[in-house]
């Protein structure tokens, strides 16, 4: 090996180390700046009260409307996406297991849908809403976010379900089960932790996205009360507070961002924990 080759290798290795630590450093900076700014202005009042009159000019109140609104919206959307998404993932891996071509086409379609930006779902949800004569409401928001997280949910369940060994299926058939029993009683138990992870991942996506709910969920200073009423969401609340010229309101935006980040970090930690815990019903091969 010549000297120039040695220098080249050293040089690139240095670049690689720099790139890797660049990513870790950026993550640390993001987390640090959100926490540092947020902790200063977060208060009990912010978490437990709705905005009072003149909230956006610096008067009292909090963001409880947005916190509850976001949770309601994300819960609703996750539930709906689960009801539609889990059967699809199971169908792919139990009913269509012998039709590799069909599976490939559906996975391909799902990947396509996954790549579509959320603002497009927002615009589509908006035109659906107009079409059905709905107003901006929790329901419209839930439907839009459902469409948006559906491919995420199905694809991540699919990743887990396709690792279930074929032998398990054959054993169940030989004992007289039919296909839907295999799907709902055996596959769901075998991949329980993976399914929970998929659900939590979709929940995190749903609660953090603003572009899809911008058109459809509306915004309100009241607590969510009913499917057909507009509802406030945390990302939009951050956005609106940040656009205010009053520094005090901007500080509240930082606190709201901290709340949203914390919710997502907790969900993500939880999904890691669940994966480790639920091994009881799983058969190891």
């Amino acid at each position: 090996m010549t000297r120039s080759q040695k220098i080249e290798e050293k040089f690139f290795k240095l670049l690689m180390i720099l790139a890797t630590y660049f990513i870790l450093a950026i993550l640390a900076i993001i987390i640090y700046s959100i926490f540092e700014k947020g902790i200063k202005s977060i208060s009990w009042e912010m978490l437990t009260q709705v905005p009072h009159g003149g909230y956006y000019y610096g008067k009292g109140g909090g963001i409880l409307n947005a916190i509850l609104g976001s949770l309601a919206l994300a819960f609703g959307a996750t539930l709906l996406a689960f009801i539609i998404g889990m059967p699809v993932a199971l169908y792919l891996n139990v009913f269509l297991i012998r039709h590799k071509k069909v599976i490939a086409i559906i996975r391909f379609l799902l990947d396509l849908v996954w790549g579509i930006p959320s603002i497009v779902y927002g615009a589509f949800g908006f035109s659906l809403m107009i079409f059905f004569g709905l107003q901006t409401s929790l329901l419209a928001g839930i439907l839009t976010v459902t469409l948006f997280i559906l491919p995420i949910m199905i694809r991540s369940m699919d990743e887990i379900l396709c690792t279930v060994p074929i032998g398990l299926q054959e054993a169940a058939y030989s004992l007289g089960s039919n296909k839907s029993e295999i799907a709902f009683k055996i596959f769901t138990r075998q991949s329980f932790s993976g399914i929970i992870t998929a659900v939590l991942l979709s929940f995190g996506r749903g609660i953090g996205d603003a572009a899809a709910v911008l058109f459809t969920a509306g915004y309100t200073d009241h607590l969510p009360n009913g499917l057909l009423e507009p509802v406030a969401t945390l990302p939009l609340s951050i956005f609106f507070q940040l656009s205010s010229p009053v520094p005090e309101v901007q500080n509240r935006a930082y606190a709201s961002a901290l709340v949203l980040t914390l919710i997502i970090l907790i969900v993500s930690l939880f999904s890691r924990g669940v994966g480790k815990r639920y091994h009881k019903t799983k058969i190891n091969f």
Partner: protein
């Protein structure tokens, strides 16, 4: 205990599965048709070429030129990729070839957290950190007067947002390369870096291109974070320090007034349709790169 017997339950379950499956499989087509029907009003009066290449945007006067927005989106996306691509490639090679297994176990949660942070929070971080950095340090240092709200700020924030996405694909691609290939090359006397440069990267090339393509498509459609730091000025940007305007930001900023001006809503739906078309096209093309990669 059950309302229905086994066979009936089977029928109900499998019917529901097929309905769900159809819904999901039809979703991309539904999206396309829905948005097309909404923008057809605009397409009646203007040709697509005119809309894409005309430079004036004055909805109240009936002039809908999307050119500045398209150019703005392309600038932001390409500059973001210029940052993301080398960082991700180098990191993916480093964590798969040079480090021990435990390092990946540190990297994976880090990537997950980066991927989980919502785009509004990225935008807020951009306003807090990147915008002041550009207006106070980078701009004056380069001798340029800038507000900070610029193409560069948006591109930087965007590049961080797509890092987890691209990096995940790249790591998977490098891990899928059979270890025998590496062993054979090393046994012939090549150094580790030579192996990486001449064998691994060459083998992974279609996959690497696909990863960058997926990242590009993702970056093109990102809305909130870009909207918050790009400046939102309808003008053709001359340098990366100029403010700009992107297609998703256009849609998100104007949804409130779109029903008050004739054909405005159709114009915004057309913008969404453009985004959808770009996203579908990129994902389609990159999919074939991935398929090719898997064949080798």
């Amino acid at each position: 205990m059950y309302l229905l017997n086994r066979t009936q339950r089977h029928t109900v379950n499998s019917t529901w599965m097929i309905i769900s499956l159809l819904l999901v499989a039809l979703l991309p087509f539904l999206l396309f048709i829905g948005l097309y029907l909404k923008s057809v009003l605009l397409l009646h009066d203007y040709s697509v070429i005119d809309l894409i290449f005309s430079k004036t945007w004055r909805p109240s006067a009936g002039q809908f030129g999307f050119y500045p927005f398209i150019i703005g989106s392309i600038w932001v996306t390409l500059v973001a990729m210029l940052i993301t691509a080398p960082v991700c490639l180098l990191t993916a090679i480093y964590v798969t070839q040079y480090t021990k297994k435990y390092f990946l176990r540190i990297m994976h949660p880090a990537i997950d957290i980066l991927a989980g942070i919502p785009s509004v929070v990225y935008g807020l971080w951009g306003i807090l950190v990147i915008v002041p950095f550009i207006s106070r340090y980078l701009g004056p240092w380069m001798g340029i007067k800038t507000m900070g709200y610029s193409i560069l700020a948006a591109a930087f924030v965007l590049s961080i947002m797509i890092i987890p996405f691209v990096l995940n694909i790249l790591i998977e691609i490098f891990r899928a390369i059979p270890v025998e290939l590496k062993e054979a090359t090393l046994s012939l006397g090549a150094t580790q870096w030579q192996t990486i440069k001449h064998v691994l990267v060459k083998k992974a090339l279609p996959g690497i291109i696909a990863a960058f393509g997926f990242g590009l498509a993702r970056a093109f459609g990102e809305t909130m974070a870009v909207l918050m730091v790009v400046g939102n000025v309808v003008r053709l940007p001359k340098s990366v320090f100029d403010p700009g305007y992107t297609l998703p930001a256009l849609i998100a900023n104007n949804y409130g007034e779109m029903l008050s001006i004739p054909r405005y809503d159709a114009a915004l739906m057309f913008a969404a349709l453009l985004l959808l078309a770009v996203s579908l096209f990129f994902n389609l093309v990159m999919h074939f790169f991935i398929v090719r990669y898997n064949k080798y």
